[in-house]
Each structure stands twice: as C-alpha cells, then as structure tokens.
C-alpha cells in the first residue's frame, strides 16, 4: 500500500507491516521520545495504526512521574 494512502486509522498489519517491522517502529519510537513501552503495551494492538501508536506515545509522555 502506498504510504500516501495510509490514514491514521489504517490497519498497519493489513497494510503489510510485519511483526519485525512493528518492533523496529517500537524501538525507533523509544529512542526518539526517550520512553520505554511497558509490558501492558507490548501488544499487537498498540502498533495496529498510526492513531493507536499516537495514543500510546501520548499516554507515556504525559504520564505523571512515579
């Protein structure tokens, strides 16, 4: 699927994203935002769309410090 055709809600797995690619995305996001996805977010659903990824990152970057 051409990247221009992706919307925020497009299912990235159906668009051809492999589990390997989703891990690559996860590691790149962790590096960029200096965050670490906790165990509860290590699920396919977290990386299933741009919107889902954005929600997860927002959640992690706005979480109150422990």
């Amino acid at each position: 699927m051409p990247i221009d055709a992706l919307t925020d809600d497009t299912d990235l797995y159906e668009a051809g994203m492999t589990s390997h690619a989703s891990v690559t995305v996860m590691l790149a996001i962790e590096d960029t935002f200096d965050i670490e996805f906790p165990e509860r977010l290590l699920r396919k659903a977290t990386f299933s769309s741009v919107a889902a990824i954005r929600d997860a990152v927002t959640q992690l970057t706005t979480a109150a410090p422990a």
Partner: protein, 613 residues
C-alpha cells in the same frame, strides 16, 4: 510421471565437497562429551590468509540467515580464508538443550573452541565475524583471545545490538508482538523459535560490548536506523572503527532474503586487508580425517549417534541419527520453506534424536538449494515448493536405503510435506506423515512466468479469482458462506480443485497417510472437504488430525513439542510399536472422522513456555 531415476549410490562418509569455491566439510569439535557441529570452508589454494570464525544469530534468525552465512563462509574461503561457521551448544546440530545450565557460558566456550580449531589447522591469524547476538559473542571472544595473548586479526560486528540487555529487549518485543508471549516469574520468555530461560536472561543481560582487547581494525555493519552512537563511541576508543550500514534487514530476518551487498562488503573488507607474509601452508586440514560422526543426546539424555552424509548426484546434505540397535524403516524428515535440516526452531533435531533414542534411524534432509545441500545446474537457491524436491527425496532414499527404497517413512513440514507427497507418489514408501501441509501455492516456475512443471502430480492450482480474493482478505469469508457441497460442485465442474488432491494421489498409490495440521492450516481442508476427509479416514489407511493451538510456523515451545509428540505417535502407530513413553502434558487434538484424543507432550514444559497462541 516423467522423472529421472534415483542414483543407485549410497551415503558417502567424509562428506567433503570440493569446488572452485574451495572445500567445505562438516566438523564435530569441542568438548567430546557435548560436541559442537560446524562447517569448515577452506580455500582452494594450498595455503591460506588466515582463519575466520562466524558467530551466528539465534531464534528465528538462526533459520532465516542460515543460507546467507553459508554464502559468506564460501565467499571468505574464495578470498583465501579458512572459515568456520558453527552452532552454539543447544542450538542447531550441536549437542545440548537451551534449557541446560550454564548455556551462555557454553556459548562463549564454543567461540573459543572454534578459534582454537582454526589455530590447530595452522591459521597464522584468526578473525571473527558476528551477526546480531553473535556480534556480542564474537567481540567477547576477541577480547578473551587478546587477554590470552592471541589477539584476533580483525572483527566484523554485523547488526550488533548495543548490549545483551538491548538484544533481550528486542527479542522480548518480538515474542510479545508476534506470539503474544508473556514473561515468566523468573524473567524467562519466548521469542519466535526460541526459549530464553531465566538463567540465560540473567547472563545475557550482563553481556556488553568490550572496549578493550579489540583488534586494530573493526568493521561495524549496522542496520538502517540503528542507534549505536554510544556503542560506537565506546568501541572507537579501542579500535580503528569503520561504521557502515546495510539495507534489507527486515527481508533478511523475516524472509531469508540474502543481503548480497552486505555479504560482499564483509568479504571485500577481509580481502583488502594485508595478508600475513609468507602465507602459511595449511596443516593437515585437507587430509586430516575429521570425525563425521558424534555422540549427542536426546532430550531425555539417551545417547544418539549422528553422522553427516552427502547423498545422491546433487550433493544433498543430511544428518543421520540412530540409537543403539536401530531397526525398522528409516524415517526421513524434510523441512519446509527455506529452513535447513534442523527444522523450524530446531524441531527436526529434537524429533530425530527422540526417535533415534526409541530405536529408529532418522535422516534430516536438506533439499537441493536449501541449507547445506548442493545446487542443480541452473537451479536458483532457496526455492521452496520446487519441482525438484520429489527427485531429491528419491535420490536421498535410494542412497540411505539402497536395498529397499520403499522401506522408509517420509515426514514433511509445510512445503516439505508437498515434496514428500510428490516423492511418495513415485516411491510408494511405507507411509507419509504430513505436518501443516499447504496444498495451494504458486510454484516458483509459475512465478517466473513459465508453465507448471509437468512433474507435479499433487499440485492444487488456484484459479486467479481465488488468488485475488485471498489478496483482498475475502477468501476466509467465502469459506464461511459456501457450504462443503458447493466446493465439491466447483471441484466436479473443474473450477476449483479439491485440497485433498495430494492425499488422493497417495492413497491411489497405496501409501498409508497421516496428516497433522494446526487449526490455521486445517481450516481450508475442513471448510472445503471435511466430510470427504472423514470418509477417506473410514475407508482408507488415512487420518487427518487437527492439533489445537499449533500455528503454522510452530513458534513456541509447546507447539514444537506438540508436533514432535504427534509425529512420534503416528510413527509408533504405523509401526505398531506403542506410543511415547512419558506423557505429562495433554495437548488437545481432534481426529477428523474419529474420536477426539489427547496428544501427550514429552516432559515438563520449561518455564517461559506460557505463550498465548
């Protein structure tokens, strides 16, 4: 069916293969109580420019990078370097289990043993190449040799993780996202095709890239986008560092696509380095008789003898396993996709050793162009569902069972099951066991724009509209709405062939057939031919068993154990010699056209095998 006659040769011992690329030979080395298996690739010249140890990756990447590391070793040998690629303890063809204690320490010891083997062959210098976690092990091996006064001459870190902890983090994510795996209380976890025990996790977390004792020159070949700034900064303080990137790591790790540019770059890097002067003649490597047999151990500790063999006119490679007083037909295991003879996630090794421990003789076979087997003239490497697969099996069977080639049981996984079915149609063996057989596929010759190979008897061609529906994700919906009689009507009208075509070919040839499939692979059969399968089970030497919880790629420990146990059960049943000895875990299985029955897995499941599938 037109086909060439199997060669009337027998298995050859001392299975070296000489070619213009040099000499390749399997070797057993290291601790004789727990031998390691490797391949030694030597230059075609009578002297060498040094030795290179290849330290490979683990998990699913063991399977998908196997052929690439073979090509790299052959390229280095062509450039004048004696090159050893090998399996760490508890991996590949080497002895042991990953659940053995002190596994990571044994991996370090294995790297040292590999380098010592090259020393013993007269290599003036030894260098190391490590891929993924193998890069960390290679770097540690280099530092250890330096500390012992024998520094390595060069080091290539190919896609190195920043540390053992970073490597585990990535594997943990793979396990969670690809398998839904969750860590155990002892931090153990699974990633595709690999169990990481709590002890391994603890030891790998401590694994770091050394910053002392590195050679004068190091090449880092990292994947695009990798963040290795800290690692390269630290390592650069200890060595002249060249940092480059390579492309295509996802196709490499996911689809076994050879990254030729990276392979060529590594060979060129070594080739451009100054050679020792004068070149040192190779010591007795060419004439020395390496042991081609070793005693390894089944999961329950029973000793098993394994022999590396070359078979037939196309230099097929296989490993023969046998226990004491092996009797009965030889059981031939043929893998699927581009998996080498070790099988997906080492399933074939576990199965072969367990079968050998119970008195059988087992061959794990690489089809031509896959794993360590040769290529036929004009054949492309790593082609699965290749039409040549059936002839390969016929050649191998003629070599290992020359007096009665029919006295074999053929076991095939995925595309290997297809090859086994085609072979059985002409060989008429005692039985066939298929695992996760995929009857519908696009043959490589069709992909290349040619006609379907006329040697195919069991091929189930898919009409274009079926392919298009599948590409659009609508085929499953179609299966749900079209009843079985509808599919049978389409079959009778010649519009959609039945998925049972291969089984019918076997039954017409009088071959006892046992089909084992996980639910994902069984769905196509059950939706389109469930009643037909049940009828076949009642009227012919045939059974179709659904192994609940087993996915196509058998990524988890419990799935692999289910397959091992189910195949052992079928073999025992076919030979009438009872079932597995120590069942402790029931895995639900449903026999189509028969009563439900549990399939027992061997031994206690190791911690960390709590995969949600």
């Amino acid at each position: 069916m037109p086909t060439s006659q199997p060669a009337a040769s027998s298995a050859r011992t001392g299975p070296s293969v000489a070619s213009s690329e040099g000499l390749s030979r399997p070797v057993w080395f290291g601790d004789s109580a727990h031998p390691l298996f490797g391949w030694l690739h030597e230059p075609s010249e009578t002297s060498n420019r040094g030795g290179v140890v290849l330290c490979g990756p683990l998990a699913k990447q063991y399977d998908t990078t196997y052929y690439t590391l073979r090509l790299l070793a052959e390229g280095l040998a062509r450039a004048g370097f004696s090159t050893l690629r090998f399996d760490y303890r508890g991996t590949g063809d080497s002895d042991g289990l990953v659940t053995d204690p002190f596994t990571v320490a044994a991996w370090h010891a294995g790297v040292a043993s590999a380098a010592e083997l090259l020393d013993s062959l007269g290599c003036r210098s030894v260098a190391m190449v490590g891929l993924q976690v193998g890069a960390l092990l290679a770097a540690q091996g280099a530092a250890s040799r330096s500390a012992a006064g024998a520094p390595v001459s060069g080091l290539v870190l190919w896609d190195p993780p920043a540390s053992g902890a970073a490597f585990l983090r990535e594997q943990r994510a793979f396990g969670a996202l690809a398998m839904g795996a969750r860590p155990g209380a002892d931090s153990s976890f699974e990633s595709p095709a690999q169990l990481w025990t709590g002890e391994m996790v603890r030891d790998l977390r401590q694994l770091i890239m050394p910053t002392a004792g590195l050679p004068a020159a190091t090449l880092v070949l990292s994947r695009e986008g990798a963040n290795l700034a800290a690692l390269t900064r630290d390592v650069a303080a200890a060595t002249a560092l060249e940092c480059e990137t390579f492309t295509g790591h996802e196709d490499f790790y996911e689809h076994a696509k050879v990254p030729h540019a990276a392979v060529d770059r590594i060979v060129d890097w070594f080739d451009s380095r100054p050679s020792p002067s004068p070149l040192l003649p190779l010591l007795p490597a060419r004439t020395e008789t390496f042991a081609d047999t070793a005693v390894v151990h089944a999961e329950d500790g029973t000793p098993v003898t394994e022999r590396a063999v070359r078979l037939g006119p196309n230099d097929l490679f296989g490993v023969l396993s046998s226990g004491a007083d092996a009797t009965g037909p030889t059981i031939v295991l043929v893998g699927g996709y581009v998996y080498p003879h070790t099988g997906p996630g080492r399933t074939w090794v576990q199965l072969a050793r367990q079968l050998a421990a119970t008195g059988h003789r087992v061959l794990r076979l690489d089809l031509s162009g896959i794993g360590d087997s040769g290529l036929r003239p004009g054949q492309l490497p790593q082609q699965y569902f290749a039409a040549e697969g059936a002839e390969d099996i016929a050649h191998a069977v003629s070599a290992i069972s020359p007096t009665d080639p029919r006295d074999v049981i053929l076991v095939g996984f995925c595309s290997g099951a297809y090859a086994v079915i085609e072979a059985a149609a002409m060989l008429r063996p005692r039985a066939v066991v298929s695992v996760n057989y995929v009857p519908e596929f696009t043959p490589p010759e069709l992909v290349a724009g040619g006609p379907v190979d006329e040697r195919r008897n069991a091929f189930v061609a898919r009409p274009r509209w079926i392919v298009r529906l599948r590409e659009r994700g609508l085929l499953r919906r179609l299966r749900e709405v079209v009843p079985e009689w509808g599919w049978q009507l389409l079959n009778r009208l010649g519009i959609v062939p039945s998925p049972t075509t291969g089984f019918k070919v076997l039954l017409a040839a009088g071959v006892a057939t046992r089909a084992l499939s996980g639910p994902e692979d069984a769905e196509l059969f059950l939706a389109r031919a469930g009643r037909q399968l049940a009828r076949m089970a009642k009227t012919a030497p045939f059974s179709f068993t659904v192994l609940d919880g087993v996915g196509h790629s058998v990524l988890s420990v419990i799935e692999r154990q289910a397959v091992v146990t189910a195949v052992m059960r079928e073999v025992a049943d076919l030979l009438g010699d009872g079932g597995p000895a120590t069942p402790t875990v029931d895995i639900p299985a449903r026999r189509v056209g028969g009563s439900a029955e549990p399939v027992e897995a061997f031994g206690d499941l190791p911690s960390g095998s709590n995969t949600a599938t």
